[in-house]
Amino acid sequence: MSHRLASGGRLIDRRQPVNFSFNGRQMSGFAGDTLAAGLLGAGQTLLGRSFKYHRPRGVVASGAEEPNALLGLGQGDRFEPNQRATTTELFEGLAATSQNHWPRLEFDLLALNNLVPQFLTAGFYYKTFLWPRAFWKHVYEPVIRRSAGLGEAPGPRTRDPDRYEQIYAFADVMVIGGGIAGLQAALAAAESGARVALWEQSAHWGGRAPVDGIEIDGTPAEDWITATLARLAAMENVQLRLRTMGAGVHDHGYVLGYERVSDHAPGDDAPRHRLWRMRAGRIITATGAIERPLSFAGNDVPGVMLASAMRDYLVNYAVAPGQEVVIVTNNDDAYRTALALRRAGIGVAAVVDARADPAGPLPQAARAAGIRILAGSGIRKVKGGRHVKGVEVCAIDSRGVAHTAQLDCDAVGMSGGWSPVVHLWSHCGGKLIWDEGGHFFRPDPARPPLGQDGAGFVLACGSANGDLGPVLGDAQATGCRAAQAMGADGAASDAGRDTPAEMAEMEPVWIMPRAAEYDLRAKMWLDFQNDVKVSDIQLAAREGFHSVEHAKRYTTLGMATDQGKLSNINGLAILSDALGQPIPATGTTTFRPPYTPISLAAIAGEARGPLFQPLRRTPMQDWHDAHGADWEPVGQWRRPFAYLRKGEGRTAAVNREVRNVRTGVGMLDASTLGKILVSGPDAARFMDMLYTGMMSSLKPGRCRYGLMCNENGFLMDDGVVARLDEGRFLVHTTSGGADHIHGWMEDWLQCEWWDWQVHTVNMTEQFAQVAVAGPKARHLLERLGGMDLSREAMPFMSFAEGALGGFDARVFRISFSGELGFEIAVPASQGRALWARLMAEGADLDVMPYGTEALHILRAEKGFIMIGDETDGTVIPQDLGLNWAISKKKTDFLGKRGMERVAMQDPDRWTLVGLETLHGTVLPHGALALAPGHNANGQRQTQGRVTSSYYSANLGCGIAMGLVANGPDRMGEVLDFAGPKDRIIQARIVDPVRIDKDGERQNV
């Protein structure tokens, strides 16, 4: 059983015990422990159940590559599934739970899956779900949902109470990885004069050099690390950051970093995670290497670990994996673990070495220490279910039918060699080459990811570059090179001299034993997290999944949350072997960010709750809020849909507001309308191009309604244009269209008509605007005094500037309701005061605010179109009967050529009409008008659709507008509309203008 040793542990503080719980059981570790170290130290080796087969699983690794030790952390609102025990720092009160078992971790009924593994082989989804069809929904899905998976999602009603944030940062040289190579590279770059950022994903600097017993300049690595850190910390051009993972490398030197600010110290008022958005000139990946497992039967039994991880637990946390350990290897590095265990007083039953004659310095040292070495051998199988009980050894080249030795042990350390962490190098297109000596993929320096200057912007160094021997010399050179590329060429001090033990050549072993029978291969795990075995990859190859990307998706190899950090190379090797081709010919799957999963909350940053997106507020927003506004979103604005009086429903409020505008006076907050100033000697010419109608003939002081189309002739925006003077126009756009239209104008002015003398200024927010509409509108405004608003002084479609009741006002005589109407624009800072003044002055006139729904109904009663209702991006002005607003005199305008295309000239285009149900009811929005017959898909043919539909309180019936084939030629015809539940609603085609066809009311 795993246990804590009485002394040692370079990262723990024994004076500070830390209490935590696992599945409710109280345990104790030390400050500095990871959760995995704490659990192993407390003797807990069984940590969870596997994805498909519910096999017992324990810790395999000691860092970010861990596939098995995923736990649920926290409770209630703070519960989070699938957290890696190996990268979770222990803190007082931590509560962890195991995952994917029923009913208990120790006794899991779903482990029955393990007994019928042939049911769950590669591609089982595709094979199982063929028939019978009725089983899909009622049998397969519920069963699989129940049995397959990892942690459960947090409850739907939980709300994460923690804070998360993002931050933008900049550097000349970004070094990712704070091992000795990263420290050296950062120092060299900083001494050269570059601005340097250095991130380390764990809580400690130095990487694995201290664990591996590396000496630098003749003293233990630890001394050099401390000294180098001190030098870096003293430099102003260096940012050092622990607990920050380089998550992804993107174009133009953009790097995402994931800082776990307070995961290790909850209860602080610090944010929990911080997402770094770094822009760097050069990126150095010093991300180290990851040890590979070996594929032997039972390599997933709790107690089987990476040899390097055993060493980490032993040296860093004084945690031993067991009492008696077997090491199995194909290389010299694993002997370090055997020697470390022996030094710590742990039994080493044997080192099982696949090589015929392990004779390097480390094997010799092991021999000298009295450790038994079984050369030319492999593990035939691991004995034990919930924990290791022993291993059977066989000849490495055999079929594994019989064993040559049996060893009792309670832990197995495996080493299949090392793979450089090439993820970040590869994210942005860096290519890899196969290293024949080390049997791994390494960055190809000739094909780095290229930046905008055509040069590589990512440089790899240390073991991440495939240098498994000394690294500091290369790291120093890399740091200098990166700095020089950024124009920093100061002198860097000499590199440290690291002297790792010499390693004899490794011997690749992808299947152990090499000619293993099927029953052994079916128990050799490649991808521990997704339960993919050697036999699954071989099956996929036989079934024709020869591309590595296909085999990956068919078997799910490497698709788990660890992204195949342990399984990738082993899986490629098995696939290559099955296909009879060398590994480089098979290639790798694509490395994608993030390097390890990052929290969704960090990606959201501050954009949650009230800050999810900007809420735009008019100067009168607070007044509306205090007076019953029922809000509706309009772009990023929220506008009052209606103002509900006490006890009043939405419908009643809307009807009241609609009636009031036709009989008294109403007020609408029109501040959201876009207002763009277009000025300059060529302004009139520009306006004639923007609008379908003629704007250059508009007289100063007058207003004109206009339509804007895109190049295809489709209607894009509409509104009233006021000509302020000869060279200045004020363009009103729709509420949602202001920013888009301003951008559209600038696009044409900057890219196409750059020699035209026109300026645009978006004045939308400068003005608060109030529409005052209704028969009593003039009466109300005259009470404010200061301007002559008479019909003679200010006729329909004119405007005037003046002091209205003391406000600096521009008053437009325009109407979107068909009633006598004015729109008053004042500086936004005065909007609230103007509104209050009008409400007060009009109290005895029963002035009422009205919302957007009343606005819509009033315009629909008049047959006025609304962008977004009558238009949907496929509608041209002619479809809406707006030919009168298209100039025939102009030689050109935006959209003119589009309108001349055949499809736009089609006489059968759906065209605007009014619609009236036979019984006065309201047509459903968007309902389709049915036509005889069916199309090729068996769907009913259609001949039109409803674009707007309301109840009109003024007319006492439903009114609607719609687009109907040849509509205007079919007045009086009755059409069938498809209602809900196959109900047919009949409606008659009528004139869309339902009130005051001659426009008398707005003209008074």
Binding site: I167, M763, E765
Partner: protein
């Protein structure tokens, strides 16, 4: 009529990692045109020289900021903006130049304290190590447009559209929450 005027978020304030104050009513005038044509009239009306690229020049209560190769922003007391607009329009008559009073289209926040760069770095993709007093950046804060003015050491001003004043204030207050100092800048 002074009581009829109200800035976007009157008296809004927050104290955390930094001090945040809504600046109240500020006068702002957008000028567009060829800098060579604008320089003379501007100097005559304000006494200010043309700012260099991404720079602000100031004299007393007036500040003139570079906004783009053909755009300037003149900041002045709110009440003086209409007169100044009229004067500039007269001075620039006949030229291809545009003068517009945008005082009320904006909200302004003053930010101060030694951690101000760290707070702004959470919201704006700006390298504050290269932003010196007297610099201006047109950028964004989270999802909205923003102009960031470095006034003096540890003292910044951020300008946004008036309608998003509440969003901007909440953003700034959130980024300045106690305990969240990222210690990025010295």
């Amino acid at each position: 009529m002074s009581d009829t005027w109200a800035s976007a978020l009157p008296q809004a304030q927050f104290d955390g990692l930094i001090r945040i104050r809504e600046a109240g009513l500020c006068g702002m005038i957008t000028l567009r045109g060829d800098p060579a044509a604008l320089a003379g009239p501007l100097r005559a009306q304000t006494g200010l020289d043309m700012p260099a690229q991404r720079r602000i020049v100031s004299a007393g209560a007036l500040q003139l900021a570079w906004m783009s190769p053909d755009e300037l922003l003149l900041c002045l007391p709110h009440a003086e903006a209409p007169t100044m607009v009229a004067a500039l329009q007269t001075a620039l008559a006949g030229q291809f130049a545009t003068v517009a009073n945008v005082s009320d289209a904006r909200a302004v926040f003053d930010l101060s304290g030694p951690r101000v760069r760290d707070v702004l770095a959470k919201l704006c993709p700006v390298d504050f190590a290269t932003l010196q007093p007297g610099d201006i950046r047109r950028s964004r804060a989270a999802q909205v447009a923003a102009a960031i003015l470095s006034l003096e050491d540890d003292q910044f001003r951020i300008i946004c559209f008036r309608s998003v004043a509440g969003y901007m204030f909440d953003l700034l207050a959130g980024a300045a929450a106690p305990g969240s100092d990222p210690a990025l800048y010295p």
